[in-house]
């Protein structure tokens, strides 16, 4: 797999991965901007409105008919946040010529179509269509309201919001109901035009076509893109310490049968010069995966929960421990989760635990090479962070992480906020509490 990168136009970068092993090719185009409360809802709305129709395919019927013709080649809106960078745009995948009748190549048509969706939406008088904007706005509002449906991710989101209440990271990639309701199609068009002029753009391609061919296809397709003064001043603010001297506690009540206990931590001073490999291994030793201390002790030994797991948000220097417990087990589960962190801090890590953690993290990274969507998000994340090493190189670093390095990360970690989602009419103290075992929380997905 060969990786190349170049700047095609001012502020427009292409990351290209050549590989013969997949049956489909994939690509993405992402506009980067600062995650802010005022613009989050507009950012979220833009790709959805653009995906309603273009000048050539003015409505969904014609656009989807074209996708079907291109062998189900989907061009899907994407809306992600990477730390406090808001990433919006499109992701597309389509069959490689080797599997199509007559070896039909779709690269040219797909780059054209994706660029068209990004740059040439269906407009009237230069303005995005009010009907499309209003309809997508309603759907976005429903989506924002629906976050309560999944209690596990709701609890994690609420913990992050409370923990980062003074930081942009508290802002959802969908924005808020109020901000979304205030969107007007004229204002949205103005913001969209501005975004096109000043956002850095990340392009990604993975497939069989050689670099020059992909570069030319994108250069042609994006030739009409307006480029003004590019805003390179986007990034993520790191807060090293907890907001207050004692961890904050936040409780919320709802009609649920299972409690959700979420602990929010700052990774702390280790973020000054982060050893990414060590942080990943620390997370695996402590709480991610079935050999982790949280799984082995909180779930298996004490049966306190169905699952308890940790995840780090490296870009923002955070760690979250999430668990599902019986309401009565709040104190016991929290105490055990913190006791296990203390154990890692004290270097109470066996060689088996350390090896298992290193192998799990390294194996995950190597498996990234077999999934185009994982590769896309790995390389976008690297681009946003200004890093240029690949999954294999990071895996090699992971394999060399020492126990001392893991302990050092654990000592740097600081509890900031405890969040508890519980039943409406329970009385504080009951009997015993359970965590759900293993979860991969996609905080930023």
């Amino acid at each position: 797999m060969e990786y190349s990168r170049s700047e095609l136009m001012p502020g427009v970068f292409l990351s290209h991965l050549r590989s013969d092993k997949f049956k489909t090719a994939c690509m993405s185009a992402t506009l980067l901007s600062q995650l802010k409360r005022e613009t989050a809802s507009m950012n979220a709305l833009i790709p959805n409105v653009l995906a309603r129709g273009t000048t050539r395919y003015p409505d969904l019927e014609q656009l989807f008919a074209r996708f079907d013709e291109l062998y189900g080649a989907a061009v899907e809106p994407i809306n992600r946040r990477m730390g406090e960078v808001h990433c919006i745009g499109f992701f597309a995948s389509f069959p490689e010529p080797a599997f199509l009748p007559g070896g039909e190549a779709l690269l040219g048509e797909m780059t054209t179509l994706m660029a068209e969706m990004l740059l040439s939406p269906n407009t009237r008088g230069g303005l995005l269509l009010p009907a499309y904007v209003d309809s997508e706005k309603e759907k976005l509002l429903d989506l924002i309201r629906s976050r309560v449906n999944d209690k596990r991710s709701y609890a994690v989101t609420r913990c992050l919001e409370e923990m980062c209440c003074c930081e942009d990271y508290a802002v959802s990639r969908f924005g808020t109901v109020e901000d979304c309701e205030a969107i007007h199609y004229k204002k949205l068009t103005r913001y969209y035009r501005e975004l096109l002029r000043k956002s850095p753009v990340e392009l990604f391609y993975c497939g069989r076509a050689p670099f020059a061919e992909v570069e030319n296809a994108f250069r042609d397709a994006l030739s009409g893109m307006p480029r003004g003064e590019i805003d390179y001043e986007i990034g993520t603010d790191l807060r090293m310490n907890a907001l207050e001297s004692e961890p904050r506690y936040f409780e919320e009540r709802m009609d649920v049968t299972q409690g959700r206990l979420v602990l929010g931590f700052r990774l702390g001073e280790c973020m000054e010069d982060p050893d990414r490999a060590a942080i990943h291994v620390f997370n695996a030793v402590y709480g991610s995966g079935v050999t982790s201390k949280l799984f082995m002790n909180v779930r298996e030994k004490l049966s306190l929960c169905y699952s308890a797991s940790s995840a780090v948000v490296l870009r923002k220097g955070l760690m979250i421990v999430s668990s599902g417990i019986a309401f009565e087990n709040f104190d016991a589960a929290k105490a055990e989760i913190l006791a296990q962190l203390e154990a890692v801090r004290n270097g109470d890590i066996t060689d088996e635990e350390l090896n298992a953690a290193r192998r799990a993290v390294a194996s995950d990274l190597r498996a990234t090479l077999d999934s185009q969507s994982d590769l896309e998000s790995f390389w976008l994340s690297q681009a946003v962070a200004g890093l240029d090493y690949g999954p294999t190189e990071l895996a090699e670093l992971v394999e060399d992480v020492t126990k001392e390095a893991v302990t050092a990360v654990a000592r740097s970690v600081e509890l900031d906020l405890v969040y508890f989602l519980r039943d409406e009419d329970g009385d504080g103290e009951d009997e015993d509490d359970k965590d759900e075992g293993r979860e991969d929380e996609a905080f930023e997905a």
Partner: protein, 436 residues
């Protein structure tokens, strides 16, 4: 060339660039292997035809009736090994990412790894074929599983699904929750688990599917070395008398803490007979439903524009444990209106048929989606395993797709998607939550 009889036969699928090695070992185990050069990932799935729906069964002339949730409980306890070890930990320590799931029709143990594949494969086969339960460990698991069951009760997607199944199926055990209930699992003892393991975990009732840069014969050889040699009798599941195609109720509504109504429309199809004829019926249903209510269908586009459907609206054809059904749903402010429109659209298609140009496009799109599905080892191995239990090979789908006509799809709609066959399950927001 070694003078050894090949255990697996080779099947080429040149159109999609895959080669499948398939065969049955002397102990009855079905083996499927797809070698993948240039990939670092290895994936192995070891599955038994034993899921939440296999509550009543006959083996060796004995008839047994077990509580709901045994298959799933067994899955949780299989990882315990006699010397106090845990297979999950051993595999993880060895760099693999192991897990398991139980559905209505199967229990599947699997791992993914990028090194030490053969060692991990041996461990997978070993632990799944080594039952070790004590009353103490079985008792301890009850708390964990009860939490899992409660988590399901808070999950609107799960509730809306099971309520639909309860309307569609009068007595078929797929209407029972795979995990059982807090009450039903209280009846499970170490003895129950040993009995069910003996009956359902014999190689003759199981399938091993592997994908990765492997030698297929080596996979078969390892399976022969690790697993029991004898061929045990295959149990017969009793799903009760064949059900009428009509649902027992047409509408169920209940309230939960959700932001907007969630709904599923469902209907039963005549049970799956297995084999190529069934596979063809399955793909016909997939194509018909994609044209009827897929993302580029006139029905979906119209309701999407009217704000009655969202992008998460989807449709699924499913054939668990001999049942066969179509389910469509998502979120809507007015699920009953959606169902009315859906019924009207079915009637229109039954009358007018599908547009030929549309049909041609949908076939191309279906080909592309299936091709994309081949990139995912997990998806490929699990659907190969499921295919073995249904007497089909999922890779045959590409060839079958070619032979299906627009008229086949119209007839599917006319014969099956009639109003009296449909049921609607709805979860509505509680008044207090609705404001968001």
């Amino acid at each position: 060339m070694r003078d050894v009889k090949m255990k697996l036969s080779k099947h080429e699928y040149p159109g999609v660039g895959e080669t499948l090695y398939a065969g049955t070992l002397d102990n009855g185990l079905e083996v499927r292997v797809i070698p993948k050069k240039d990939f670092s990932t290895y994936y192995a799935a070891f599955a038994t035809r034993y899921g939440g729906a296999h509550r009543r069964f006959a083996v060796d002339g004995r008839r047994l009736d077990t509580p709901a949730g045994v298959a799933h409980y067994l899955e949780h306890k299989m990882f315990d090994l006699p010397n106090g070890d845990n297979a999950l930990s051993i595999l993880s320590a060895n760099g693999a990412d192991p897990n398991a799931f139980t559905s209505a029709e199967m229990t599947c143990y699997y791992f993914e790894c990028t090194e030490a594949f053969e060692e991990n494969l041996r461990m997978l086969l070993h632990f799944v074929s080594t039952p070790y339960f004590t009353d103490e460990t079985v008792q301890k698991e009850q708390g964990i599983i009860a939490q899992e069951i409660r988590m399901g009760e808070d999950n609107p997607g799960m509730v809306v699904y099971y309520k639909l199944l309860e309307m569609l199926y009068d007595h078929h055990p797929i209407r029972d929750r795979v995990a059982g209930s807090v009450e039903s699992i209280a009846e499970i003892t170490a003895g129950t688990l040993y009995d069910c393991h003996r009956v359902f975990y014999a190689p003759s009732n199981m399938v091993l599917c592997v994908e990765g840069d492997v030698d297929p014969e080596a996979v078969a050889r390892i399976a022969e070395e690790v697993l029991p040699k004898e061929k045990a009798p295959v149990p017969t599941a009793d799903f009760g008398e064949e059900e009428s195609l009509l649902p027992s109720a047409a509408l169920h509504m209940e309230e939960m803490a959700v932001s907007a109504p969630q709904f599923l429309i469902g209907l039963k199809l005549a049970p799956g007979e297995g084999g190529p004829a069934f596979h063809r019926r399955y793909i016909t249903a997939e194509l018909a439903m994609r044209m009827l209510c897929g993302p580029s269908s006139p029905f979906f586009l119209r309701l999407y524009e009217q704000g009655l459907l969202t992008a998460d609206f989807g449709c699924e054809i499913d054939s668990p444990a001999g049942a066969f059904m179509v389910i469509a749903g998502g979120e809507s402010k007015d699920p009953e209106k959606v169902q009315d429109e859906f019924k009207k659209e079915c009637a229109r298609i039954a009358r007018e048929g599908f547009d030929e140009a549309f049909f041609t496009r949908i076939k191309r799109a279906a080909f592309g989606s299936k091709l994309r599905g081949l990139e995912d080892f997990d998806n490929v191995c699990v659907s190969l395993a499921q295919g073995v239990f249904e007497g089909i090979c999922t890779l045959d789908a590409f060839a079958l797709l070619e032979g299906i006509s627009a008229e086949d799809c119209r007839r599917f709609v006319e014969e099956n998607l009639t109003p009296e066959r449909m049921a609607l399950s709805v979860i509505r927001p509680k008044a207090a939550e609705a404001a968001g």
